[in-house]
Structure formats: structure tokens, C-alpha cells
Amino acid sequence: MFLKDLKDLPENYGYLNARLRAHFSDFLVKEDYRRLAFRRLEEIEVFLLETRYGKSFRKSLVEQPLSTRRRIEVALADTSADTLNHARKMAMGEPEDLMTVLLARADLHNGRLLLRYYFTGALYEGHPQWHGYGTLPVTFFADLWKSHSITHVIDKCLAFDHQLSRALGRACGQVAKGSSLPASERIFLSGVLTYLDEILDSHRTKDSALVRELLGRSIDIWNMNIWSRVAAGVLPGEKAGELFIEGGYSLSADRLRNSSRPEDLLASTPWETILGRFQGGPAEMVTGRAMREFWKWQIAQRRKDLLGIEVATAFIAHQLLEWQNLNALVVGVDMGLEVDTIIDKLVLTG
């Protein structure tokens, strides 16, 4: 009973946030990216060897012969997953539950990879870089990947007996029936959101409200993605209605159905700021711009409340964004792109 009471103490945030804040200085800054963009792949590896990614580099050097680029990718994925899993282990009570919700994007990412793999006929021979910080274990996804049959995947998902795996099983069922990829992904996303809502329902605090807002903004981005496909003529307008997800943060179903231009869709919403950068650009750019704004919003939470979930939200975003930026940088350098082009692809904050 005493331990149960401890789980609800606000001090849990104080402890967790103090530990997380001590790690913010580990993240790379704008100048680091600019400097790395001028270097060769081997030089980037040497730079990363001296950082917290070094441990994973040494491990992969010893264990398996990989190309420099692949070694960097593995090191980034392993270190990011380790960092985020370690952060969750430091949390207790409400912060732990809310971090589970925040980190469920790994399950979403892995599940969508799997859906795309089976939607395209399971032709790819290699294996993807799983995001290893979610609720479902990476071994579960790796096993599904190796199944090579959508029927086996559905059986395994149902046998795993977790709400998220059942949602994935239902989505795979749609793929097997010949539904479109967005329709199957929508089923999976809805299942994940239902699961996360149940976790959030047990906490009625301002911190859980922030996490709800984050989920709402994620739904907005999904809806913007569907909307931009309709605007670009890739998706028929009549099908889009059933692909939108209810419960977004600021974009209502009516607005999504009745808007034909980005200005109509985003005016007077928190996403309005991205309109200034459009300057008449194509509607497909909406999602990319919105995603950038979403990253920046998450990272801006860092100093909003030092005794709330805001610090963890910013920490997770920082780690994932660093992973994404370094991946983009490594691919750009490997392809021999211009420095300015590479920098343009990165989401630099702070």
C-alpha cells in the first residue's frame, strides 16, 4: 500500500526530470551537424566513436563485418533505443505510463513497416532497422517479418495476446483482404490510439492532457497526409472521408473534407505558422512542414514545466530527431550531395 501511494507522488517527475535534464547536453547542436556535413563518411564515424554512440560502434566492429554506412545506422538505432529504454526505466508511476504512451510511436513505426512489407508482396530480402523502444519487443516484429506469409502473421499477432498485436493482426487481415495500404494502416493506428487512450484514462492530470495533445497533433498529421494525397489527386476524394481519424487536435472532419487549399485547411489553427513558408507551394508539402513544426513543438516543451512530463516529451523528441538527422546526414554524405542540400533536409532546433 505504501509503495502504491509512492507511485502517485509528484516527486516522481522531479527525480526523472533531473536525470533527463542532465543528459540534454549529450545531444548534438546545430554547429555539429554543419561541421559533419563537410566531412567524409569515415570522418563522421570517427567523430561518433568519441560520443555516446561509440559503444555500439565498437560492438558492431567486433561482432559483424558491415559497411561504414550500415555500421553508423546500426549504432544510431541501437544507441537511440538504449537511451529511450533507459529513460523509461528511470520513471515510476504516472511518468512511466505517460512515457509508455510517448514511446508507442516505435510500435506504430514497426507495425507500419510490416504492413508495407506484406502489402508489397514481401519481396525485400533484407531486414529493416526496427525501432526498439516500444511496448512490443523487436523480436516479435522480426519474427513476423520472417514469416513470409500474411496468414501466419495474423495467427502470430493474435497468439501474442497484447492489445497492440491484435490491432496489428486486424490491420494485416485488411491487407490479406486486399484493402488499400492507408485503410490497413488506419485500422492499426486506430487500434494503437484506443490502447493509448485506455492508459491515459487512468491519469486525469495536466501532464496526461499534454500527452493527449501530442496524440491529437499526431492524428492531425495523419489527417493532413490523407488530405494532401487527395489534393494532389493521388487519392479519390470520396475515399478520403473514411480514412480520416476523429479526435485530432485542431483539424475537424468538416474542415478536412471542405478545404481545397492549404490556406483553407490550416488558417486559425496551431498549424497556421507553416503557411508562411509555403509561398504557393504544392499541397503535398503540408505534411512535411507540419512534421517539422511538430518536432519543434515537442522540443520547445523542455522548459515549460520542470516538474511535469514536458521534459520527457522534449527528451524523447530530441533523441529521435538526432537519430533522424544523423541518418539523413549520413545518407546525404554517402550520396555526395551538396552541403546546403544536406542541411536543408535536417530539422535543426535550438
Binding site: E11, G14, Y15, L16, N17, A18, A22
Partner: protein
């Protein structure tokens, strides 16, 4: 009756700052534990920060003693 009121005043003078101190120390303590876990070299500063709210109780205690000595 008068003595009872003085005793009550003295109790409040110590009790209320003690509650406030406990509240502050709980928060400083949890944050301090997290900080020391990541940066052990900050231990000295954290102990000072943890002890600072104690001054509230000490001042309350002094006031309580003065009340009792003055009026009791």
C-alpha cells in the same frame, strides 16, 4: 485560557514552517537524488539546497521559544 492560546501560537509557529519545510524538502530531495545519480560531483551543492528549507523550522522554533519565555 491565556496559557493555552500561547501554547497554541507556539505550536503553530513550529508546525506550519515544518509542513512547508517538508513540502520543499520532498521536491528538492527527489530532484537532488536524480541530479546526484547523473552527476555525483553535485552532491555537496544538493546537500546545501536540501538543508536550506530547514531554516524555516529553526526560525519558527525561535519564535515559539520567544513566545513561551515572553508570555508564559
Amino acid at each position: 485560557m491565556e496559557k493555552a492560546l500561547i501554547a497554541l501560537a507556539a505550536a503553530l509557529a513550529v508546525g506550519l514552517p515544518a509542513i512547508a519545510t517538508a513540502y520543499a524538502q520532498a521536491r528538492i530531495g527527489s530532484v537532488g537524488a536524480g541530479t546526484i545519480a547523473e552527476k555525483p560531483e553535485t552532491g555537496g551543492i544538493i546537500i546545501i539546497l536540501e538543508a536550506l528549507p530547514e531554516t524555516m523550522v529553526i526560525l519558527g522554533f525561535v519564535v515559539a521559544v520567544m513566545l513561551i519565555l515572553q508570555f508564559a
